[in-house]
Amino acid sequence: MLNSLTLILCCQLAGEFTVKATGITAPGPVIGMIFLLIILLIKGSVQEDLETTANSLLSNLSLLFVPAGVGLMLHFQLIGKEWLPITISLIISTILTIAVTGLMMVWLTNNNLDETTNKHKTDNKKESSN
């Protein structure tokens, strides 16, 4: 638990540092996530301890948005003024995103010969490490 948490915090710190040092425009924790992903890809497996720690952080992920969400009480004025354009663009944009992503995947899958369909039952995790 402590090892894994340290690894996660180190990745985040390295991410924050990279953002400040290079001027990359991306949130530090996201760069930290890329670092951790690279480490996992090199290692080729996830340690059980790391998986447990990540699960305990992610299983209650929604709780972590509550403090920021409550901050909405500071912006009632802006929302009162702009709720209509925000709502309209949110709805149309969501519909477009679903349609475009779905159609693109269907189109690419139909044009791809080595794509085997209806193999949904292959849940057995093939360990490709080593």
């Binding site: 996201v30 992903l37 944009s93 679903i98 992503t101 995947m105």
Partner: protein, 238 residues
């Protein structure tokens, strides 16, 4: 009586009370969410906000005072974002053979989500602050809030817009896909996950395991794509 008010003054100044309030309100929200069979309309975060905001307004507590306690929860957003690498890696291992189709589809969807939100908002005369806060709405909340903060928007507004987008996508996603005649479970999962992140993914898992896995993967790729591309698009547009 005097003693009680002294205790109240003491507690109001300590972080313990608002930290506890945050956890209790969320637990109530989660309990209701589970009682309603995970109906996306009864989102636990929304319920927690509906409980906490009036309490703060009635007790005349400022957001800064509330945040003294809530910051301990808020801090975990960073490590949680880093930890998203683990499910992303595990899901990617399962779907290696269709990596190209998945990446292209999600990237196209991700660009659609950002650009359509920005352009429609602009067309309707939204303020720049609202536009920044709206642009990453299809991305998972911790990442979306990070992006908004960096570009000078309002992370708290983003948090709620992301949740609303998630609820909307989870509800209408299957209907749109049926209307378009898309039956492929992988495509359905990707579409819902790209548009409506974790809330959509939870919904996709309820429908089908394959769809759920692909939705989770789409959520991860979309988070990365939005975090890297949106700041560039924003600089280019404004």
């Amino acid at each position: 009586m005097n003693e009680f008010s002294e205790i109240w003054v003491y507690l109001r100044a300590s972080p313990l009370m608002h930290l506890t309030l945050t956890l209790v309100a969320y637990q109530i929200g989660n309990w209701i969410y589970k009682k309603t069979n995970l109906n996306p309309l009864f989102n636990p975060v929304l319920i927690a906000m509906i409980i906490i905001v009036p309490i703060l307004l009635i007790s005349k507590t400022s957001y800064i005072d509330y945040f003294q306690g809530a910051q301990f929860v808020h801090f975990l957003l960073g490590p949680a974002t880093v930890a998203l690498a683990i499910p992303l890696y595990q899901q990617f291992e399962k779907v290696k053979q269709s990596a190209f189709a998945i990446s292209v589809s999600v990237l196209t969807g991700s660009l659609t989500a950002m650009l359509s939100a920005i352009y429609i908002g602009k067309l309707l005369n939204s303020s720049t602050t609202a536009l920044i806060s709206l642009a990453p709405k299809s991305t998972t909340t911790p990442v979306a809030m990070g992006i908004t903060e960096q570009l000078g928007g309002l992370p708290s507004l983003t948090a709620i817009l992301v949740i609303v987008t998630g609820i909307l996508g989870a509800m209408i996603g299957p209907l749109i896909l049926n209307f378009l005649g898309i039956k492929n479970k992988k495509a359905r999962g990707l579409a819902i996950g790209t548009a409506s992140h974790g809330i959509g993914t939870a919904r996709a898992y309820q429908i089908n395991k394959t769809a759920g896995t692909f939705a989770g993967l789409a959520m991860g790729i979309n988070a990365l794509a939005t975090a890297l591309l949106l700041p560039l698009i924003w600089q280019w547009l404004f």
